[in-house]
């Protein structure tokens, strides 16, 4: 075999702490290495051309590049090697940047380490063999999980691009958090007027199938061929008949449970349509509070329903769909501010969250758009906004900035002045973070035109005095303590990952970060992809985001889906397991352990049982390889011999040279 080794300087990233020419010189002493050089930027066009030229000139049949992590540029170099006429699997990478030059400071040690990593790569490459990808067809359908604004945008873009879309929403209506908002910053545009038409488009689009009150039960399969089971929760209303007339909602006598759409500010009937613009506009029964379902008598809704669509016997239903790609747009939830003792832990009715305030401002909210404080229904004249409640606070495990609270607080201060002209707003803030088009001008307007008082400091306690709440805090710019007698206190609660996001991530094999937000494939270059092929992210499930960013990411995810599904066939990774029938004893252990059902039992021509791998189903994890007592099933590109060769390159065998 003739191997060429290329040591990348990566500018000074590697060459700064690794002696690249000496690594290249050492590499020439390794077996089968016939050519070795160092190069400034291996991934640049001249760098890649130099590799291709060397393959041709030196008649190489394997290439080792020592540079950054293979998670970054392995595909790049594989394509380069392929352009040079080699098989793309006759290539190995040694990670001498992330694993050497960036973590070690001593040049001598780094150089030795880099040389050894190159040696490992060479030893592995010596045992590589050409692999050819198989092709398979994809299902031309997309699953969008979550019907917030990001999911809506992704679904509409995919559907307009000609793909069938299945949208799954946990709540009764799509719309997500945006549907609860009154206005949006920085234009003070009506939120439901912006979102409403898009929601209607979802309902009307011939290519979109909508499942609300539904959750993803399980996900199987792989990119291009996922099998998804959806649990349609019982709504006790036959939606094929329901016209959304709302007679049942009026007549329902059970009105004791809080209304989640209105952030528990008021109570809702047991059978309900959450808001006027709900999509689908169908009624659903909350089983926990329905008198008929709990006590077996009532049925007022069934009596009054003109189309007889109430069905108290309804059960959850499971639907299975095949999809080619998945967009996850599960959004976020609000931080539970009751953890903070200084804000009263929920003892004071007039300490509310920003989203509750949003409902108070909304014309479709519990107060019809008049600001009335929850305790006595009086119009508040002094409103105090507290920023960073559950953001940028290590003590409650939320060190990150939620990003949009500064902006919506400015908006709410403006709206407060609009609703109650003789009111005064105070905003306790840490820093004002308003990067974005027109954002900083907007916060300025809140202060200058609308007279909101911005106080830089934290609130140390809130306590009642008469019918007022005294907000005590620091003014760090004036260096004093301040006390504001407030009628209403609005907490700008931060965003956290949606409830159930981690469990959904387990089903989709998408890892969450330490806060439960899904991790993208690359923070800069692959912001919507995940490490699971065919699963994409949109919106705040990846990290806190405002509406424009969520919509942008929804479209980005849709373009990735359309790019994926526009291919007639996909190539499967040929690094899959392969059975050596001569060694296989047909014990079937691999069949039992494979998480994907990718191994089946077949009979050879003598009728002996043998294992066989289904190439397109195998994901290449290699669990079977370790399980096989015979070593008969080997994961291509990561065979026992290849990994042992790396081990032996690091720790030269003491007793016998060759166990292969």
């Amino acid at each position: 075999m003739r191997i060429g080794v290329f040591i990348c300087h990566c500018g000074s990233n590697i060459a700064g702490t690794v002696d690249c020419p000496s690594v290249a010189a050492t590499a020439l002493t390794y077996p089968d290495v016939v050519f070795s050089t160092d190069t400034m930027y291996a991934c640049s066009e001249p760098g890649q051309d130099a590799i291709i030229q060397a393959v041709k000139d030196k008649n190489l049949d394997g290439v080792v590049v020592a540079s950054c992590t293979p998670r970054m540029h392995e595909p790049t170099f594989r394509r380069a090697v392929e352009r040079a006429g080699l098989n793309r699997y006759m290539f190995e990478m040694a990670n001498i940047r992330e694993h050497v030059s960036w973590i070690g400071k001593i040049k001598e040690q780094n150089t030795v380490k880099a040389s050894e990593l190159v040696r490992m790569a060479v030893e592995k490459l010596r045992r590589n063999r050409p692999l050819v990808a198989k092709r398979f067809e994809t299902v031309k359908r997309v699953l969008v999980i979550g019907g917030g604004v990001a999911g809506i945008q992704a679904a509409l873009d995919c559907a307009d691009g000609g793909q069938e879309v299945v949208m799954v929403e946990r709540e009764q209506s799509i719309g997500g958090k945006m549907a609860k908002l009154d206005k949006t910053f920085p234009t003070v545009d009506c939120s439901s007027c912006v979102l409403g038409p898009k929601m209607v488009d979802i309902a009307q689009h011939p290519k979109i199938t909508l499942y609300t009150c539904s959750e993803v039960e399980s996900v199987g399969g792989y990119v291009g061929n996922f099998q998804v089971t959806i649990r349609k929760k019982a709504t006790y209303v036959d939606w094929s008949k329901c016209t959304g007339c709302g007679l049942c909602v009026e007549k329902c006598p059970s009105r004791k449970h809080p209304d989640p759409f209105n952030e528990n500010l008021c109570n809702a009937p047991s059978i309900n349509i959450p808001f006027p613009q709900a999509i689908p506009k169908k009624a659903a029964i909350n089983a926990a509070s329905c008198i008929m379902l709990q006590k077996g008598k009532c049925g007022a809704c069934a009596k009054v329903c003109p189309v007889k669509c109430i069905d108290f016997e309804m059960k959850d239903e499971l639907v299975t769909v095949d999809v080619g790609a998945v967009v996850v747009a599960t959004g976020y939830d609000l931080f539970d501010w009751h953890k903070y003792p200084q804000y009263g832990e929920g003892r004071y009715k007039d300490v509310i969250t920003s989203l509750q305030y949003e409902r108070l401002l909304s014309a479709s909210g519990p107060t019809g758009g008049h600001i009335k404080r929850p305790s006595d229904g009086k119009e508040p004249k002094t409103v105090v906004f507290v920023q960073c409640v559950g953001s940028r606070d290590k003590s409650v495990g939320r060190p990150y900035c939620s990003g949009f609270c500064c902006m919506y607080t400015a908006k709410q201060a403006i709206l407060t002045k609009d609703h109650v002209p003789d009111s005064q707003s105070y905003v306790f803030y840490m820093d004002i973070r308003s990067p974005g088009k027109g954002y900083d001008e907007f916060t300025r307007r809140a202060m200058e035109e609308y007279g909101a008082q911005y106080v830089r400091g934290r609130v140390s306690m809130i306590y009642p005095k008469g019918d007022k709440l005294i907000v005590r805090g620091a003014d760090t710019l004036a260096g004093t303590q301040v006390e504001v007698p407030a009628d209403l206190v609005v907490l700008a609660v931060g965003a956290e990952s949606a409830k159930g996001a981690v469990q959904l991530g387990e089903k989709l094999r998408v890892a969450p970060d330490q806060y439960g937000f899904f991790v993208e494939s690359h923070p800069k270059l692959k912001p919507v992809e995940t490490n699971t092929a065919g699963v994409f992210l949109a919106g705040a499930c990846q990290g806190p985001k405002d509406i424009p960013a969520s919509v942008g990411q929804g479209s980005a995810a849709a373009s990735k889906v359309l790019g994926l599904l526009s291919k007639k066939e996909l190539e499967s990774d040929p690094a899959v397991s392969r059975v050596n029938p001569a060694r296989c004893v047909g014990c079937g252990k691999c069949i039992l352990t494979c998480p994907f059902g990718a191994i089946k039992a077949v009979a050879d021509r003598f009728g002996n049982p043998k294992a066989e791998v289904i190439d397109t189903v195998c994901q290449g994890c290699g669990i079977c390889t370790v399980t096989c007592p015979q070593g008969a099933i080997q994961l291509e590109h990561f065979t026992d011999n290849q990994i042992l060769a790396e081990v032996n390159a690091l720790c030269p065998p003491k007793i016998f040279a060759n166990f292969e």
Binding site: T69, P70, R71, M72, N95, R97, E98, H99, V100, W102, I103, G104, K105, I106, Q109, N110, V112, K113, E116, L117, M120, G505, E506, R509, A511, P512, D513, Q514, V519, N531, T532, A575, T593, P595, F596, Q619, G620, C621, G622, I623, T625, V626, T627, L635, F638, D640, I643, L644, E646, V647, N648, L650, C651, P652, P653, K654, I655, F656, F659
Partner: protein, 163 residues
């Protein structure tokens, strides 16, 4: 005692591509300085790690072996790390039987976002191996000319172990 000040020991790491290898990358991108003793072998999944790889490393004279995969329930391949956990835990308990100090082997879970945790894991483990010192020569007969012994055995003259 920073490991850099003294002779490097030989530590082999087996890391799953999806989580811990990414975590090690994240640590690199974040410039989280670590001891340089560790050499990482990339595998697709911690479930791909045959316990015999670890034993082979130790037999060949590695001073320590560190295995890291995705956190349980987070496996890219659904359940590979559960298999890994069983195998590795069993190996850990079995190592003393073979005369190898079990402290020379450790397995842990690090996700792709946990660069700082990876730095901590590597630093701690390297520190532990340096405290244990270089691995004792596994085979007291290692100085013997094995080819001569093999020849003897082939000629039916018996071998030193079986008399």
């Amino acid at each position: 005692m920073p490991a850099q000040d003294i002779r490097e020991l030989r530590i082999v790491g087996f890391l799953c591509n999806w989580c811990s290898y990414g975590g090690a990358d994240t640590a690199g991108v974040g410039r989280f300085t670590q001891p340089t003793d560790l050499r990482i072998i990339r595998v697709p999944c911690s479930g791909r790690i045959d316990p015999l790889f670890i034993v082979r490393s130790l037999l060949n004279g590695a001073d320590g072996v560190l295995v890291s995969g995705c956190h349980p329930r987070d496996c890219h391949y659904a359940e590979g790390n559960f298999y890994a956990r069983r195998r590795l835990e069993l190996l850990k308990r079995f190592l003393p039987v073979t005369g190898i100090d079990a402290r020379r082997f450790e397995y842990t879970w690090v996700s792709a976002s946990e660069g700082q945790r990876w730095q901590h894991v590597v630093t701690e483990f390297t520190h532990r191996i340096h405290e244990l010192g270089p691995a004792p020569s596994f085979n007291p007969m290692s100085e013997v000319d094995w080819n001569a012994l093999a020849l003897q055995a082939a000629q039916g003259q018996g071998c030193p172990c079986h008399g």
